[in-house]
Symmetry: C2
Subunit: 338 residues, 2 copies
């Protein structure tokens, strides 16, 4: 029997040195001081506004004890990157708070750090600080990510206007269906479909290039990313902008795998899962009606499909979901945290 080495064998400082020093990119001129002092010191370019967002993942709530830590590291950073994309910004630095039981295997910590490293290098963001503490309970991962956007150029939720068209990137519902399959709540026979949906749940794709182009071209009036669910997050735009929305369920873009599930014998329930399941990390944005050319330009340059799924209407924070042109009352809302 081999005895697995735990994080307590190294201690905090050596652990940080061993695991996380490689996550610090040395060639970022904006980082005056990264990890290793009481706080990081960062140089914000003139003409830029700072973006700050934070997300927490808890074992037993957002992931399971047997979740691959390499995937978890990638996901933890990606969900924060999605928030910067939803402002039209460019991500730059993050701080990590990692609470893990002292009995956590060193291998787990190494794989988690490798996941962060992969995502950091892929999206060009650097670790500049953090805190490692011993948890008496579950593993808790909090990342606070900073980005930059031109002064006055951040795209808020609150600027949607009546008459705007509503667009969404990529496809919706894959993540929820991937999770539902893992939990045994939906049967899927095609192995490729299962693999695809699982991947979409595990490795969200922050739509940074689309967000940046929407900001550069000043096309989008408002953006949000889909974490709580398509309907719930569209409601957040409505609530912040003091408007309503009509969402055409038939127009919501689906992957082949999701389409196959919906073609099964539980279409109603599955469609609601797609619309409300959440964790898609696609962008919803609103734009004036006359931008078809610009939309196809963005798709050409980013390779990401943009699909019109509804329109902003008068009303107070209400999303009317339509199906075959008729209002359709859903049985459940978005992800509830409590």
């Amino acid at each position: 029997m081999s005895i697995e080495k735990t994080v307590s064998a190294l201690g905090e400082f050596q652990l940080i040195e061993t695991l996380f020093s490689r996550l610090v990119m040395a060639d970022d001129k904006r980082i005056i001081k990264g990890v290793g002092d009481d706080s990081a010191v960062l140089n914000i370019p003139r003409t830029q506004h700072l973006l700050t967002t934070t997300d927490t993942l808890i074992e037993g709530v957002h992931f399971n004890s047997d979740t691959d830590p390499f995937i978890l590291g990638r996901k933890a950073l990606r969900v924060n990157l999605s928030d910067i994309a939803a402002m039209g910004g460019v991500p730059h630095w993050y701080v990590l708070s990692l609470a893990i039981p002292s009995t956590t295997s060193l291998k787990w910590a190494e794989e988690f750090a490798r996941g962060l490293d992969e995502a950091g290098k892929r999206f060009n963001v650097s670790l500049v600080g953090g805190d490692m503490v011993a948890s008496t309970g579950p593993i808790i991962i909090t990342i606070t990510l900073n980005g930059l956007v031109g002064e006055g150029r951040a795209i808020m939720r609150s600027s949607a206007q009546v008459g705007d068209r509503i667009y969404v990137t990529g496809t919706i519902g894959d993540s929820a269906l991937g999770l539902a399959h893992r939990l045994g709540r939906v049967k899927i026979s095609d192995a490729h479909h299962i693999e695809f949906l699982k991947h979409r749940h595990q490795i969200p794709e922050p739509r940074l290039s689309v967000g940046k182009m929407l900001q550069d071209t000043a096309i989008a009036r408002s953006i949000i990313d889909v974490s709580d669910g398509l309907v719930a997050d569209l409601e957040h735009i409505c609530s912040a902008s003091g408007v309503g929305a009509r969402l055409h369920a038939d127009k919501v873009p689906l992957s082949d795998a999701a389409r196959a599930v919906l073609d099964g014998d539980d279409t109603n329930r599955m469609m609601q899962m797609v619309l409300t399941g959440g964790e898609d990390y696609e962008l919803i944005f609103t734009a004036s009606a006359d931008i078809a050319d610009a939309i196809s330009d963005i798709t050409d340059q980013t390779g990401v499909a943009l699909t019109e799924i509804g329109e902003i209407v008068k009303g107070e924070s209400v999303v009317t979901v339509c199906r075959d042109g008729e209002p359709w009352v859903l049985e459940r809302g978005g992800w509830k945290h409590f």
Copy 2:
């Protein structure tokens, strides 16, 4: 029997609205957008560098289940403020990640928010974002605090020079003795002393005014705040600066309450507790030998005592603790996280 209302009765969004909206200060011109979008948008003044620090407090590790949530809210913000003080900066904004079981009483959450509010108003910092999630285990509080400091003016740990004198603010060891008393590890008879030490453990005083003056006057070569323990944190300065230090235990400033404990019958053990116990949140700084006038100016203006406790010497990351002029080998180091 009264049924206590829990946080799950409100749900995430109403909870945030109810508890935390008042923590947002409306009159801060630098906050373009605070709570309520995918990320906060902040205006960093030209000529300023950004400071970022993060700290996590976990129930069962950093505080007990019966800790007064009002005190906890104050402390959670204050420990982060201390890190900004240790850079010579001015704190401005924070984001909060709060993981609490859904069975947490609403009263607890209200009191915690009231504590944050008190500290935020006292030190002029505003909540600009956060995340609230349901914990399956302990309460976990992560705060990431941003501050500003003039370009090139942040005071690092790494700039101590051989010949520098070592100073410390306030008094050392009160927090450790306060905790030790609560845990029954030290007997104290004087009720006023007990109350004083308990207060020092519960409500650390971030030395922002001293840190700012040390930066304004360019007196300090290096600063760190004492969280892990006086010796351990002085070692961090030595390690970052590639120097050694001599620390005169007899010169370490003590409160009347700590002095009374050390006058008891377990002086050796108590003195080591003072030097290594941690959570003092006082500043250690190093400065050239000829600044006595400037030191007394700072004390006059801030009301905070500054005491010379040693000097930086040649050597590699070693702190030699001296007592009656002789080296004294301690039995334990600083706070170990794992």
